[in-house]
Structure formats: C-alpha cells, structure tokens
Assembly symmetry: C2
C-alpha cells in the first residue's frame, strides 16, 4: 500500500507579531484527500497549515502522522525531511509564494509611517513542489495543484512541466466557498485525464484519489 | 436593557482573488463578549470578520443580529449604519489597519515579477473606532481594545484619548493561542479599573462585561 505525503491548507507569512499574509484556503480539499487515501488503504502523512476544517489525528486509521505548520518555510522543512520516504506526494496546500522580506519584532505601530502609506517588500518563498519535483525518484509520483484564473489549461500544463509533476489538478477561484467542486486532472502528456464535477469537495477528493492510484498502477 | 453593538474577529484585505493580508485573531474573545452581554440581558448586534470560532445566530437569546463581513471597509459600513441605535459599542475586532492600495483582478502570476521581489503598496483603512468615538452621543459608551507589545499602558491610554473611548482594554500578544487571558481595563481617567487574569477567554469576557455595565450604571 502506498505511503502518501500530502500538504493541506494555507500558510501564514507574518509581517510582525500580529499581521500576516495568507491565501484563501479552508484546507477542506487537503483533509478530504487525506481521508480518501486512508480509505483506499494508503498510509498518509499530512502536513497542514492553519486550516478552517478539523484535522485528522495521527494514529487514526490510515493517518500515520499529522504535522501542523504555519509558514511556507516550516512546510518546506516538514515536507523535505519526509519526501524520500513517500511513494506519492500530493501538494494540495495553498502555499504563500511571497513573504515579507523581514519580520518585525513586536507589533509595528501605525504611527511608524505617520498613519500613511506603508511600502512592504515581499520576496519569494522556497518552492516546495518545484524542489520535490527535482528530487523525485523513478518510483515516486508527484501531484500538483494549479489555481488559475486565466488561460487555465495552458498555465496548468506549463506548471506541470516546470515542476515535473506526474499529474496536475487544475482548480479555479470559482470553487472558493462553494460546496461543489469542479476540477480538471491533467496527465503527464498534458491531456485531460478526467474532468471532475462533484457536489462536494469530499466526493471530488475520492475521484481524484481513484485517478492518482490508477495512474500509479498503470506506470 | 442596553443595546450593544460589538465587533469580533479579524478582517481580510485582499491583494487579488487569492492573497490577503490579515491579523492574528480567532474571534473567540468577541464571540465570548457577545454571549456574556446576552447572558446579562443586553440585546447584541454582532459584526464579525472571518472567525475561527462558531458564531452565534441572529435570533438566539439576546442576539438580535449577526452581520458577517470580510474587509475593514465592510466592517466600517456595517458598524456605521448601526452605531446611532446602540447604547454600548465594543470594538473587539482585530481590524486590519492597512490594505493594499489596489486589488488586482484574478490571481497575480508569480512570474509577473520574474519570480523576484514584489513591492506592495499599503494604505490605511478607515478607522472604525476613531470615527465612532467622534460620533459618540452623551448616552453612548464606547469601549476599545488596544494590543500593545511595548510601553503598553502609555500606548493604550494614548489610544483611549485619541479615539475618545470611555474604557479601553489592554491586550497583549502573549495571550495569542493561550486559553488563559490577561487583560487590563483602563477607565476614562487613564487609571487601571480592573486587572483581569482568568483561566479562559470566556471568563475574562464575563468579567469585562460586568465592568462595562457597572461603569455605565455609575455614569
């Protein structure tokens, strides 16, 4: 049975003790994927940012470990140290791709800028999917997610190639806050492997897991 | 019985369709205050940003209305249109004091900056507490919160004066993520009215409500 390493939820990049930059993500899809893999007999390690939904616990059936992280850097470290031991890596987290160039001590006073403009310098975070794609061994499967608002198929395929994913799941901002889920799974030739239109994130996750496991069996 | 207008939780200031700036706040104190006021017979209108804790429902005992908002601007509008009808306004929300100067359509591509630096221009949001302090009538009580990391008492008192609060609650970043709560309530002369050290946010909220109502009776 495959060992699955899975990320879920957003990350938070703190500007100071109080303010942070984050991404819109409840973690619901990632947690649903963890449970769906477990239900198929896989052994799941879940690395989760601050999710709105309840996380499974390490030790539950099929859930080997749950690692809670806050920032993209923490998520990177948690994934990198576990990647070699997994058969399937699914990057479902909405990782912040930018963080403040510096994190201030304490809480920045509004008066520090005279109550006026604040110019915030952001720098890229470490790219978890890109790095794991580079490290990928011949028996490992890497699955990415692409959230694309424009030129969706072309951008998702470009991301799949750049990050060396075996499969990529195209998601849309239109799914935000919606119970239903519309996803497009692209295979390693860039073709649509399956169009998923499901009434819930849980049933969409079950369909994705079925495809990921069958792709793995076929290769 | 007093009519209480209360804000809770953080706000989110979106940079684009996905990324946002926010403050660390679960909303737990604000929701506990709403329930504590209701338990004392007040009629509560709650204006809440995206909270981690479950919100009460409008129509529950003592809860007249619950207005869910996302941004500081939405919270400002929801409060401003209801302020004249309240006896007590408690600003417990961790409102973002800065927002992006512009909100981009769709999702900004990382490649838009060559994957390099991103300079983000932030501008101040409308100051809800300052504006309601200006509008305050002779029979209205306004209670603010101050989260201060340095020179806490002096900064909290300066905020109380600037924003014309009758009472201000001094909070500390040390309370984050902690079940227990240590708060200092300052009165309109700048003196410590009550030091609150409670094992939970709920019992701290009950103590605060008791003090707010007794301050109101005494004036």
């Amino acid at each position: 049975m495959p060992r699955v390493l899975l990320t879920a939820g957003p990350t938070r990049e703190y500007l100071d003790a109080v303010r942070y930059l984050s991404n819109r993500s409840s973690g619901r899809m990632g947690v649903a994927l963890a449970r769906a893999f477990a239900a198929q007999g896989a052994t799941v390690t879940l690395v989760a940012g601050p999710c709105e939904v309840a996380l499974p616990r390490g030790g539950e059936a099929g859930i080997a470990e749950v690692v809670e992280v806050v920032s993209a850097a923490e998520m990177y470290d948690a994934v990198a140290s576990r990647f070699a031991a997994c058969d399937i890596f699914v990057a479902a987290a909405a990782v912040a791709d930018y963080k403040p160039a510096e994190r201030l001590e304490g809480k920045r006073k509004k008066e520090a800028a005279g109550g006026n403009h604040w110019t915030l310098e952001l720098v890229p975070t470490a790219d978890i999917l890109l790095e794991m794609g580079k490290r990928k061994g011949p028996r490992q499967t890497v699955v990415g997610f692409a959230l694309e608002a424009h030129d969706a198929l072309a951008n998702a395929n470009a991301k799949r190639e750049r990050k060396r994913c075996d499969l990529i799941v195209l998601n849309s901002p239109a799914n935000f806050g919606d119970a239903a889920d519309t996803l497009t799974l692209l295979d390693d030739t860039g073709k649509v492997r399956r169009q998923i239109n499901e009434p819930s994130k849980e049933s969409a996750a079950a369909a994705l897991v079925e495809e990921i496991l069958s792709h793995r069996h076929a290769t």
